[in-house]
């Protein structure tokens, strides 16, 4: 995903001289090297100095530019939080804050590198928009949109590398609208970001059990497509939310809230990361499983 981000951004930067990327000593390799070679004045590495990364982006945007801040998700949002809040959100500037490797993707680096409350934190700030693409194609669409939008700040939560394509035959991507990756009538699986891969696998298994299954990428987490969620809750007997985020402040509680508001009658199951720091190491799947997010466990719970 980070490579497709870099590729899309490079492409947009060739068309728009106002696009800048400000990184904190972390850079998507490959395509970003092309950006830095071709446009050295628009590729700024602040070093390990995330507060200035955000502030510099704000200054660029105050002068009409379209900057992107880029580093590992924890450092892009938590370390410079007040700069994100005051410089970007309060001033409502069109800066994209890219959080790479969000969730527990950095599965061997420990809790300092896990981003498990970012949706709650970013989502609580007025003016902030949140996009979490589910696959490389969606990442490209989201990046291109971010490069052109003038609404205000965006937190773009992306994965790292090796995510499979899930949206090849999906309807077109549209900011602020949930996206059906497949349509069914019995069960609806809602997810966003990298863990949508697991959601797709669960959808496959439910289909193999003879159920008619919808799979939805809720790529725009803020503003949430309330109408789309309402429709999904009304049209299906069983809705399942699978989310790589803490139980508070993410898609799961928001879906429950909408379900309560509309007095939904469907069954609603939500699966999230735990509200705890875990001290486990291993593969990405190992870490998700340690948080309770494993296909077999979810399938057993929704049976």
């Amino acid at each position: 995903m980070r490579n497709t981000f870099a590729e899309a951004l490079y492409d947009e930067a060739t068309k728009n001289p106002d696009i800048y990327i400000v990184v904190s000593d972390i850079s998507p390799a490959g395509s970003m090297a092309k950006f830095s070679t071709q446009y050295p004045d628009r590729f700024i590495n602040v070093g390990v100095a995330e507060q200035s990364m955000i502030g510099i982006c704000a200054g660029l945007a105050l002068k009409g530019c379209q900057p992107f801040a880029y580093t590992i998700a924890t450092f892009t949002l938590y370390r410079p939080f007040e700069m994100v809040r005051d410089d970007l959100c309060y001033q409502n500037l069109p800066v994209t804050v890219v959080g790479m490797g969000a969730g527990v993707i950095y599965s061997t680096l420990g809790g300092t590198h896990h981003t498990q409350e970012d949706i709650a934190i970013a989502g609580a700030i007025p003016n902030m928009q949140i996009i979490a693409p589910c696959d490389p194609f969606e990442c490209t669409d989201a990046t291109r949109w971010c490069a052109k939008q003038k609404n205000g700040p965006v937190y773009l939560r992306i994965g790292k590398a090796g995510e499979p394509v899930l949206t090849k035959d999906a309807e077109p991507w549209q900011f602020g609208k949930i996206r059906y990756l497949r349509r069914g009538s019995d069960v609806c699986v809602l997810s966003y970001g990298v863990i949508t891969k697991m959601a797709a696998a669960i959808a496959d298994r439910l289909q193999a059990q003879g159920k008619s299954v919808s799979l939805i990428s809720v790529h725009t987490v803020k503003p949430l497509d309330r109408e789309g969620i309402v429709e999904a809750l009304k049209r299906h007997k069983h809705v399942i939310v699978i989310e790589e985020h803490a139980p508070q402040g993410g898609l799961a509680p928001q879906t429950k809230q909408i379900a309560w508001d509309i007095k939904a009658t469907c069954r609603l199951d939500t699966f999230t990361l735990q509200d705890s720091f875990i001290h486990n190491y291993g593969s990405y799947e190992d870490l998700l499983a340690a948080h309770g997010l494993a296909p077999e466990r979810i399938l057993a719970a929704v049976a």
Partner: protein
């Protein structure tokens, strides 16, 4: 900002008497506004009046056809914005009604500058944010080849913020000579004299120099010194003026008295302050 005609008539001439006259008028106007509100950051505004006056009225070039100046002023020490407001009023960018409604429900000006208000280039108030935004602005100017100068005023307190040092490091590393910054070094912060609470804060100019800035130290209440310092800079590096100032400068009972960081004078104190200003040259 001077008009193009004024600049053509008196190129490169600095009228120190006129500057002092303006600063006296600005102090009086701030005292007037203070009578409408229970609190405003008067001490920190009075300490940087001569600096902000020079920036707006001497350094920033006029815009074409009466438009916006090609240069920018960002008030990093947002709590000093009262001086910014009275100068913007003087320049006709803000109206008298704006200042009369300062900090009231029907007004738009608060005790910290808010982006979107006329003449306000960034929302500051939280300290340590301004200089990174200045770096970003200077980058944008360079990228577009417009080369506007970005002026800023920092408080000495906010130079304690790590984020300020991140920006100090980046401004010189990115070779941005169009940045002209001032530290309003009044040696006071909420809990006391900086030289007593944080003796290692000094010497200050050497620290900026070590980070690749051109620096100078001046009396921040001497308009001529401010003018000379900025006009004599080499223009090859970002420029930092460490300006020795007095918090509450101009009203003797406010000078170096921490209570005037935020308090408004009562009627008697106001009259005393005005009388004192009148005696000054």
């Amino acid at each position: 900002m001077k008009t193009a005609t004024e600049l053509a008539i008196r190129p490169n001439v600095f009228d120190v008497k006129a500057a002092r006259g303006r600063c006296k008028r600005y102090r009086r106007r701030i005292l007037d506004v203070s009578q409408n509100v229970s609190a405003l950051h008067i001490g920190g505004a009075f300490s940087c009046i001569e600096i902000v006056d020079c920036i707006y009225n001497e350094f920033m070039r006029p815009g074409r056809a009466g438009g916006k100046s090609p240069d920018t002023f960002l008030m990093s020490k947002g709590h000093g914005c009262m001086i910014q407001y009275v100068i913007l009023e003087d320049l006709g960018i803000l109206g008298k009604a704006d200042l009369d409604a300062y900090c009231t429900p029907h007004g738009r000006l608060g005790a910290h500058p808010d982006y979107g208000n006329p003449g306000i280039e960034a929302s500051t108030g939280a300290l340590g944010h301004g200089l990174s935004m200045v770096v970003g602005m200077a980058l944008a100017e360079r990228g577009r080849g417009t080369d506007g100068v970005i002026y800023t005023v920092l408080s000495d307190g906010e130079v304690q913020e790590g984020s300020t040092w991140e920006a100090i490091l980046m401004a010189s590393s990115l070779k941005l000579p169009k940045i002209v910054a001032f530290v309003d070094n009044n040696d006071f912060q909420s809990l006391g004299r900086t030289s007593e609470t944080h003796p290692s804060f000094y010497p200050l100019a050497e620290k900026f120099r070590a980070f690749g800035w051109e620096t100078t130290e001046i009396d921040g209440h001497d308009p001529q010194a401010i003018y000379n310092a900025v006009t004599a800079r080499s223009g090859t590096k970002p420029f930092m003026v460490v300006a020795r100032t007095t918090k509450g400068k101009g009203v003797s009972y406010m000078e170096n008295a921490p209570i005037w960081h935020y308090r408004s004078p009562n009627k008697g104190e106001y009259a005393k302050a005005i009388a004192e200003l009148e005696t000054q040259g």
